[in-house]
């Protein structure tokens, strides 16, 4: 590749990490940061042990526990579920044996792996970042190339600090103009998935651009990049800018002083060159995006909150119509019903999509001076111990608890039915997480994906609600 050819952000990070190119075009790609957690690593460490291999760069590896654990006080007395406990203990044993830095369960910095990487200043612009979890795309918000890998690849990175990869195609998703009142990054990402579909980004890395994206804070950018995977893309990224650098300067473990200046100098060279080639371009007008809510069992089944439940009989293709009917049945919906009339059992504010301090501030601003509707269980689960501490320092926990929300310990919680926080069959939830697949939040559970603001408003209304009707009341 000639030095003059204009390159995208993705191209630049890719080129800077190719150790070698194999004859068939596969690249041996160097990995700068490898995040690990308890679910997708036991078999990888086992493989290393069996082959007598070591972890090549423990300093570029970080382990944390997040998926399996309780988010109530019971975490202080030990994990009840024997299989969960075994998985956690296995990770503890493996990190000790292989010398991998580890954040224990009761450490103040513990949290969801995709929340803590950026928060601690470990996920930085220009890096290649992997983790055995598809939502690794979150870290792309830092201006990094970050993607999820499977357990065999986890083992490969542990042993060699590299991966065998084929280059991805470049896709640009531009969101132009200003976001309307009540709309956030979550509504943008749901609107994008609604537009491109869950396979829309397959084979591509998405770069989000446009003034609506530039205007997002880091938490918003993380929400957006987080759900790139639901749009089928391998990764999502936002070019690093002053917002990024200011954020990093405030992190505990990011580069400081001269190292930071030197890093910023390099990071400034990363944004996409004018005239660089994108294989696919999609543009959205920010002001047209209304608060979004999913009605079905795929993230692409999304509509504005003011819409009605669609009619399967209007679908032409027979196989699709049948699938559509199944979704309606699973979700317990009737065509023509207003989405806003759907009564809720549970509201979940949390997950690596929306559990940062900014998300909790929004939820608290709507909860202030109001009450969660009777019969609704509403949980707020901060993404990390540090988020929790910050929220408590700002008094957000009190506001939320006074309104009737449960205030929990950090973890994945009700994002997936893998720990004690679950839906029971038939329960309907408004959730700020990223997946509404059948059974995702527990067998038979019915999930509607929404933004933190919509979730908070819905908890108060007792049904899916238009956040624009629930603007913050002034503090006294």
């Amino acid at each position: 590749m000639s030095a003059q050819k204009p390159r995208t952000l993705f191209d630049k990070i890719w080129d800077a990490h190719v150790v070698e190119t194999l004859p068939d075009g596969t690249a041996l790609l160097y990995i700068d940061l490898h995040l690990t957690h308890e679910v997708t690593t036991p078999q990888a460490f086992d493989g290393l042990r069996a082959a007598g291999r070591k972890v090549r760069r423990p300093d570029a590896t970080l382990a944390v526990i997040d998926h399996n654990i309780a988010t109530d006080a019971s975490r202080y007395t030990g994990i009840v579920d024997p299989e969960s406990r075994l998985q956690v203990e296995t990770l503890e044993k493996n990190v000790a044996e292989f010398g991998v830095p580890f954040i224990p369960l009761l450490d103040a910095r513990q949290g969801i792996v995709h929340v803590i990487g950026p928060e601690l200043g470990r996920s930085l612009p220009g890096m290649t970042i992997v983790c055995g979890d598809s939502h690794t795309s979150t870290h792309g918000a830092m201006g990094a190339l970050a993607f999820g890998i499977g357990t065999s690849e986890v083992e490969h990175v542990l042993a060699t600090q590299t991966l065998l990869q084929k280059p991805a195609k470049n896709m640009r998703v531009a969101v132009e103009g200003n976001l309307a009142v009540g709309c956030s990054a979550k509504d943008v990402t749901l609107a994008i998935i609604g537009k491109i579909g869950t396979a829309g980004g397959t084979g591509h890395v998405i770069e989000y651009a446009g003034d609506a994206i530039r205007g997002l804070d880091m938490a918003g950018r993380m929400t957006l990049c987080n759900m790139s995977i639901e749009g089928g893309a391998r990764a999502g990224m936002v070019a690093p800018d002053q917002t990024t650098f200011d954020y990093i300067a405030r992190t505990p473990n990011g580069p400081k002083g001269e190292a930071l200046d030197r890093a910023i100098e390099w990071w400034r060279t990363l944004p996409t060159d004018a005239g660089a080639h994108f294989d696919r371009i999609v543009t959205l007008a920010a002001h047209e995006i209304a608060p979004q809510v999913t009605w079905g069992t795929s993230p692409e089944d999304v509509l504005p909150i003011t819409a009605a439940v669609p009619d399967p009989e209007a679908v032409e293709d027979e196989a699709r119509r049948e699938q559509f009917r199944r979704k309606m049945q699973y979700m317990g919906l009737t065509p023509g019903q207003r989405l806003q009339d759907l009564p809720l059992d549970v509201v979940f504010i949390g997950s690596c999509t929306n559990s940062r301090i900014e998300d909790i501030r929004v939820a608290a601003s709507i909860a202030r001076g109001r009450k969660v509707a009777e019969g609704v269980r509403a949980l707020v689960v901060p993404g990390s111990g540090l988020v929790k501490k910050q929220a408590e320092a700002e008094g957000l926990d009190r506001i939320l608890q006074e309104a009737g929300f449960e205030w929990r310990e950090a973890g994945c919680s009700m994002c997936l039915g893998m720990n004690p926080d679950k839906l029971t069959p038939g329960q309907r939830s408004a959730s700020t997480s990223n997946r509404n697949f059948e059974g995702r939040q527990g067998p038979g559970g019915r999930t509607h994906l929404v933004s933190p603001a919509t979730a908070a408003a819905s908890a108060i209304a007792g049904h899916l609600a238009d956040v624009r009707d629930y603007q913050p009341k002034d503090a006294h």
């Binding site: 150790v19 068939d24 596969t26 041996l28 160097y30 679910v39 997708t40 078999q43 086992d46 493989g47 082959a51 300093d59 570029a60 399996n68 299989e83 969960s84 998985q87 296995t90 470990r122 930085l124 220009g126 890096m127 979890d133 598809s134 999820g148 890998i149 499977g150 357990t151 065999s152 690849e153 083992e155 490969h156 042993a159 060699t160 600090q161 590299t162 065998l164 084929k166 869950t198 396979a199 084979g203 089928g232 391998r234 580069p255 190292a259 030197r262 890093a263 390099w266 795929s298 196989a319 699709r320 699938q323 039915g417 893998m418 997946r435 697949f437 059948e438 995702r440 067998p443 038979g444």
Partner: protein, 204 residues
């Protein structure tokens, strides 16, 4: 990893798009610390009723599909999470090949690494194979990786494309860590250069 050369077997029809990893193996079954044993919970939400009994309407609970070695589905198979438990569950059940119009990226990758062959064929061809598969035990399908063809019960051969490196690894059952280790000097060299240019990436 077990090598994959040629497979002749019963194919189970699953005429659905977007079969996601939560359907293939629900998250609540991911707690094992070994690679085996996931087969009994493959498609658990469909295979079993709430009381734990088998759902007779689900394809893998019907004869002869209980012994299926091939699965035929529609678009975007394996979308969702990066869990490698999805190919492990398929493999543990006995399915070594999935044929679909396209696959989600991570699942596609994970399959190769575990000896499950994902074959991409156009939707019309998948629809034909779906019909073949519905004929059950009388209609065995052959997937020949060596010659890169799928053979229909009628004897018709359908060629498919596959990445040459992946084909090589799969045909020989090779572990790619061993392969990569041969590039150790290049990795050392890369690290030395990167450490000089971007010292903040080292020794955190």
């Amino acid at each position: 990893m077990e090598a994959f050369t040629t497979l002749t077997g019963i194919a189970a029809p699953m005429p659905k798009a977007n079969v996601d990893t939560d359907q293939i193996i629900p998250a609540r079954f991911l707690k094992s610390i070994s690679r085996t044993g996931f087969g009994k919970n493959l498609f658990a939400n469909f295979r079993f009723r709430e009381d734990g009994s088998e759902n007779p309407d689900f394809v893998l609970n019907q004869e002869p599909y209980r012994k299926a070695e091939i699965l035929i589905a529609f678009e975007n198979f394996g979308c969702g999470s990066s869990r490698e438990h999805a190919p492990w569950a398929l493999l543990d059940f006995g399915i070594r090949c999935v044929i679909a119009p396209d696959f989600a990226d991570i699942f596609h990758n994970n399959s190769f690494k575990n000896g499950v062959l994902p074959v991409k064929l156009p939707r019309e061809v998948c629809a034909q194979l779906m019909e073949d598969a519905k004929m059950g035990g009388n209609a065995r399908i052959t997937v020949d990786l060596e010659r890169q063809v799928v053979v229909r019960p009628s004897g018709e051969e359908i060629p498919f494309q596959i990445d040459p490196l992946r084909r090589h690894l799969l045909l020989n059952g090779l572990d790619d860590i061993g392969q990569t280790m041969q590039h150790a000097p290049a990795i050392d060299g890369f690290e030395a250069k990167q450490r000089a240019a971007q010292p903040w990436l080292y020794g955190a």
